[in-house]
């Protein structure tokens, strides 16, 4: 990829990419380097996986290889879509992308939980009013931070049980209400803080691109999933929650946190953090991601489902990929905002 036009200075094309805050280009040099490195590595990993799958007598376990290849393909799709969203001028493309992802994740979550007829109207408002409204508010920028951070907890969450109560069905009332509220919190509220990262401004001392910060967050979250899997496999002894997930172990978590810290430190240059601050942020992301992954596994176990992808044939299972991101996003956003911007 020829970086010369990007490094030389803004031409008429790049002028469109100027972020509204502080005139920083959305695709500045560190961001482009990170994107190219990640996309390049994924392309290599995809090619390697593809070639290995063609070899019938290789020494690699075919089930592991198939799962690895699937994961690499999902990541490739994620990174390519994010890159496409970044290239489109303005930030609304990324926000819309996450809005659609949130809608789909909500769909999977709600399909999984049993609902009664009394929930129907409340669900309609959740899908077609609350979800788009949240992402529209995020898209309006950092002046609307107050609105999009309280809209769901203060207005939507009480509205849902009230509307269900109005429908008149009291059977398992609290259970049904709680399920829908949990769905909105995980799939809409938490996820909306990922595109909200794009709009952070008033930095104490940083001139970088928030698109790079967003991509950093996604990369660390996905890497922490892989580290957890690998370390569980290598040194896992004591299982964290036997009933829920037979593979997640405390030793695996330790390895995960250590490796995530290293990965965070290695990528500090695309963020407003120092390298040790970045390491700590990565540890926080990995920890929240672990919690998120365990929570979604618990929900799946409760409903007797192995993967959200198998819920309905042919659908990709968005929630399976997004569980770490959804849980880690609000904490990451708030820490970054409180510690690194002037609020």
């Amino acid at each position: 990829m020829d970086l010369a036009p990007f490094l030389a200075g803004s031409g008429p094309f790049l002028a469109d990419l100027e972020a509204t805050s502080g005139g920083v280009r959305k695709l500045n040099t560190p961001t482009i380097i990170l994107l190219s490195v990640v996309l390049g590595s994924l392309a290599i990993a995809f090619a390697v996986g593809h070639i290995l799958r063609r070899q019938p007598d290789s020494s690699v376990n075919p089930a592991v290889l198939a799962s690895f290849h699937r994961r690499v393909r999902a990541w490739w799709l994620m990174s390519a879509t994010l890159l496409a969203a970044f290239i489109i001028p303005g930030k609304w493309a990324t926000t819309t992308l996450f809005g659609l992802l949130g809608f789909w994740a909500l769909r999977e979550f709600i399909t999984l939980t049993p609902t009664r007829l009394g929930d129907h109207r409340a669900l309609f408002w959740v899908f077609f009013l609350i979800t788009p409204l949240q992402f529209v508010l995020v898209g309006l920028g950092s002046q609307f931070y107050f609105f999009y951070s309280i809209m769901i907890p203060v207005f939507a969450l009480p509205f849902i049980p009230a509307r269900i109560a109005l429908a008149g069905d009291h059977k398992r009332f609290l259970e049904r209400t709680a399920k829908i509220q949990a769905a909105v919190l995980v799939c809409v509220y938490s996820l909306s803080f990922v595109p909200a990262l794009l709009y952070l401004d008033d930095w104490i001392d940083w001139k970088g691109s928030t698109a790079g910060l967003l991509f950093y967050f996604v990369v660390i979250a996905q890497l922490s999933e892989v580290f957890q899997m690998v370390w569980d496999h290598l040194i896992g002894q004591r299982v964290a929650a036997e009933d829920i997930s037979a593979s997640k172990t405390w030793e695996g978590l330790g390895g995960n946190l250590a490796c995530s810290a290293i990965a965070g430190a290695a990528l500090f240059w695309v963020t407003p953090f120092d390298f040790w601050q970045s390491a700590l942020m990565a540890v926080v992301i990995a920890l929240m991601g672990f919690g998120g992954s365990l929570t979604m596994s618990a929900i799946k176990r409760d409903r007797g489902v192995t993967d959200y992808g198998t819920l309905v044939e042919g659908h990709p299972g968005v929630l399976d990929r997004m569980d770490t991101i959804c849980f880690a996003a609000p904490v990451f956003y708030q820490l970054t905002r409180i510690l690194f911007t002037e609020i």
Partner: protein, 218 residues
Amino acid sequence: MDIPLRLPQAEERPRPRFNLLAPGLATLARILSGASAKWIDCQPDTCQRVYFANHTSHVDALVIWALLPREVRLITRAVAAKDYWTKGPLRRAVARSFNTLLIDRTKIKVHRSPVDQMIREIGQTYSLIVFPEGTRNSSGEIQPFKSGLYYLAKKRPDLELIPVYMENFNRVLPRGEFLPVPFLSCAKFGPPLWFERKERKEDFSRRAREALIKLKGM
């Protein structure tokens, strides 16, 4: 997958030439209901079939039709009630664009029964989508089948009977609601059944119903 294309002769095909309404409505229904098709021990084919499904919502026939591959869609006709679908120009246009087979529910004549009409209209090419429960069912139970499927299969024992289980569609647009909630729903197409010689109506209906119930768990 190579599905042989078996188009009916021009005189058997009364549908308007440029048909945007049917594919457009079908796509909308598919998107709104997040519907997907699951073929279990069965492949899509253009041979003459009768798809029988549980009736759970307004959009059932529409979605089954939309989920079929293009070659199969061209020769598949849903069976619908004439008195409902001829009221008003919009309904007539929709029924015409989907090439539905309209059955007169109000005037049943013995020598010109609905089953005979169906057999005459499908000829040697078309397939049908029928709902043997007879009415929309908002509870989870599949109600006992009416006799139309039995007589259809008895008069044409060569027809493949494909059970189609509609899952979650009743949650998208339940009875009495007009606002949709976009659940992910699934239509499960199961292995074909055939009419067995000298089979009684009760045994046949029970066998067909059990095939449908079995799909629910897969």
